[in-house]
Symmetry: C2
Subunit: 85 residues, 2 copies
């Protein structure tokens, strides 16, 4: 069995209103950072996982994302699996 | 002026207790995902920025992270700047 580091980017699906992102965008604009737009705020998760290989690690992380870590109805996620030194 | 996409991973600094991560880890273990450990939950931010070049874009995003987007006392962040098509 090997240990892997999983890095997961979770983003709100396109078309879903991102209230937190809008709030940060307004704060940026009020501080004269008008050059920044379309702020979207999601989650970033890291975890360690023990599995036989990276394919199995990704499969388990995908399952966990669908069930617990993300909300597949309104969120998309992207998984990266790295072998631990 | 060019438009860039900034992708920012914000993580709690090492040593700072991640209560949300612990909660997700317990939920995973209660669903028999004991193979997953050290769950850390941060933020993932995407935004569009107009700047002269990617170096300037990164500089502005770094400023905005220090002032508004992240909390540099307890969080680290990693910025990636991509040119928009």
């Amino acid at each position: 069995m090997n240990t892997y580091k999983a890095k997961i980017k979770i983003t709100l699906r396109k078309g879903i209103l991102d209230v937190q992102g809008k709030a940060v965008e307004q704060a940026l604009h009020s501080m004269d950072y008008d050059i920044m737009e379309n702020v979207r705020i999601g989650k970033y998760v890291e975890l360690d996982i023990t599995a036989q290989n990276d394919g199995q690690a990704e499969e388990f992380v995908r399952e966990a994302c669908d069930k617990i870590i993300a909300n597949p109805i309104v969120e998309d996620y992207e998984i990266e699996i790295l072998e631990q030194a």
